[in-house]
């Protein structure tokens, strides 16, 4: 899935170029460019207030951008194309927004009508099956748990078989079990090749579900595959733990072959910056034994996307000061 704001694919699901949205003085997001290919699950990751929802609403033609341009499912974003774009996409907003006095089925029937679908019964049944809610079809939405309501909202978003499915914080406020169910459903959609634009402030969600991730904090900070982002941001390291703190860690680690530096986050634990963890580990072990240390563990540090994210957002906050 080739990317980059330039050299854009003609058949990309989303092409966003230098998009900016301001509310008066306040900037929701600024100069954001990215592309999403068909069949891709694209994560839009950022802290609260980063501009995620505003971006979804802009691409969903609910808000007009202040500047910049975008193409959604091949249609240029403009006032006149709003209805056409809305017919090709769907959005699951942050809160499900169901008619609580209507049943699950009645809610979906209403939206099938709004999309002018022909075979309403069949489409509703298919959407309900896709979110495993067939047996709740006759229940009033007001009687459903938060997790089930979210699934109804997902079914509603699937009704029109969208070219791009926008999911705005699909698991926010859900308990872990309900969140896991929603994750499984999204995973299923991904495997079926549905193009998904997913916003989240939860890293493990982005890491688990997305082919690529963009990290946003008003401006786009970084974009890439989850594992790429991790590599790009962190030098390789070994985490070392000893039973008692070393009396002279500098004497042990300094000058070791393959070790370019070291830190001591807490007494008895050390982070060694290395070019190649596998090559450096035996030398480190020998040096530690030579110094009479009791080694508890020597492991390659694994950085989650969370570390990438926290570091980026922290750097960004620093830069803005």
């Amino acid at each position: 899935m080739a990317t980059g704001p330039h050299g854009s694919q003609p058949d990309a699901a989303l092409v966003v170029e230098h998009l900016t949205k301001r509310f008066g003085e306040r900037t929701a997001y600024e100069d954001v460019s990215f592309e999403v290919g068909y069949g891709e699950v694209f994560g839009f990751l950022g802290p609260n207030g980063a501009g995620k929802t505003t971006m979804v609403r802009t691409l969903g033609t609910l808000l007009a951008p202040t500047s910049g341009s975008a193409r959604i499912a091949g249609i240029p974003l403009a006032f006149e194309t709003g209805a056409a774009i809305r017919g090709r996409i769907s959005i699951m907003p942050e809160s499900p927004g169901l008619y609580l006095r209507l049943t699950v089925e009645e809610n979906l029937e209403c939206f099938a009508g709004l999309y002018e679908l022909r075979d309403v019964r069949e489409r509703v049944a298919t959407a309900l099956r896709a979110v495993n809610l067939t047996d709740r079809a006759r229940d009033p939405c007001g009687s459903l748990s938060k997790g089930l309501r979210q699934r109804v909202a997902l079914a509603r978003a699937l009704l029109n078989d969208p070219a791009v499915l926008f999911l705005d914080e699909p698991t926010s406020g859900l308990d872990p079990v309900a969140a896991r169910d929603v994750h499984a459903l999204i995973g299923g959609l991904r495997d079926r090749g549905v193009t998904i634009f997913l916003t989240t402030h939860r890293l493990e969600e982005a890491e688990r579900l997305c082919h690529r991730v963009a990290i946003l904090n008003t401006t786009l900070l970084l974009i890439g595959r989850p594992d790429e982002l991790r590599e790009r941001l962190f030098t390789q390291a070994l985490d070392v733990r000893t039973r008692t703190p070393l009396p002279d860690p500098g004497g042990v680690f300094a000058g070791l072959a393959g070790v370019s530096g070291w830190e001591q986050p807490t007494p008895g634990s050390y982070v060694l910056h290395v070019a190649d963890p596998d090559a450096a580990a035996p030398a480190v072990a020998r040096a530690l034994v030579g110094a009479g240390a009791d080694i508890l563990s020597i492991v390659e540090s694994v950085h989650s996307l969370e570390d990438v994210y926290l570091q980026l957002v922290a750097e960004d906050a620093e830069a803005q000061r």
Binding site: A83, A84, R86, P93, G97, E109, G113, L114, Y115, E116
Partner: protein, 243 residues
């Protein structure tokens, strides 16, 4: 994109289903009309035929009570129509579909218009039946002799249309359901006031005047959706008027 009656129908059907299960709506659709039909009946049965020059006025006043029904019932419903959905968070999912604002508004308007007409005409039928059976013959003949029936039949939908567009327009611009409801009730009254002035002969009633007023209302009702559509601003509705 042409105007889609399928989408209007989807909104209409959803609204009617929702009304049936909404206690507030059931209350305003039943309590208010009941109150006014009772007042009308009291008027009707306390008419003394002996004061016959005033007879026609008394009938006119009792009929006026009946016209309060098509005026007030829709404003309770329509004041809620946009701002209420916004407060519930159900507006955004609808606006994300290809629906045009005119379709949304016409769906909402019909959803208030249909039950209002049913209620108002039914109660008018009840009124006529009760008059036929229980009122004094002179009163009954006065009801059917003059243009009372025609006025009632004509003005019921016209007044309803006015208060529907007023209510939806106010709802589209409000940030609070309660404020919208209060405002909508006031806004629904002016044409009823005019009808009242005619009934009380403050403005000398004439067929020409009555028809002129009716024609004016018809124009407002027929084109109201355009004015209201202009008040309906997607972006403002989504961002909650903060922008």
């Amino acid at each position: 994109m042409t105007f889609s009656w399928t989408r209007v129908g989807a909104i209409l059907r959803k609204e009617l289903r929702d009304y049936r299960r909404n206690r507030f709506v059931i209350f305003s659709m039943s309590a208010l009309p009941l109150l006014f039909i009772v007042l009308t009946m009291i008027q009707l049965f306390t008419i003394k035929v002996s004061s016959s020059p005033r007879l026609n006025d008394r009938i006119g006043i009792s009929m006026l009570y009946l016209l309060i029904i098509p005026t007030m019932v829709p404003s309770a419903l329509t004041a809620y129509s946009v701002v209420g959905e916004r407060e519930q968070g159900t507006l955004e999912p609808v606006l994300i579909t290809p629906i045009r604002r005119e379709e949304f508004l016409v769906g909402k308007a019909l959803a208030a218009f249909a039950p209002t007409l049913v209620i108002a005409y039914t109660l008018f039928g009840v009124f006529l039946g009760a008059a036929e059976l229980f009122a004094q013959p002179a009163v009954v003949s006065a009801i059917f002799e003059r243009s009372h029936v025609l006025v009632q039949l004509l003005y019921t939908p016209l007044l309803a249309g006015w208060s529907i567009w007023m209510g939806i327009g106010i709802s589209a611009r409000s940030t609070d359901v309660r404020a919208a409801q209060q405002l909508a009730v006031f806004a629904s009254l002016p044409p009823l006031g005019l009808v009242a002035l005619l009934s009380f002969n403050v403005i000398p009633a004439s067929v020409g005047l009555a028809l002129g007023l009716a024609a004016g209302l018809l124009v407002v009702d027929g084109f109201g959706w355009r004015a209201v559509a202009a008040l309906f601003d997607r972006e403002r509705l989504i961002t909650g008027g903060r922008a």
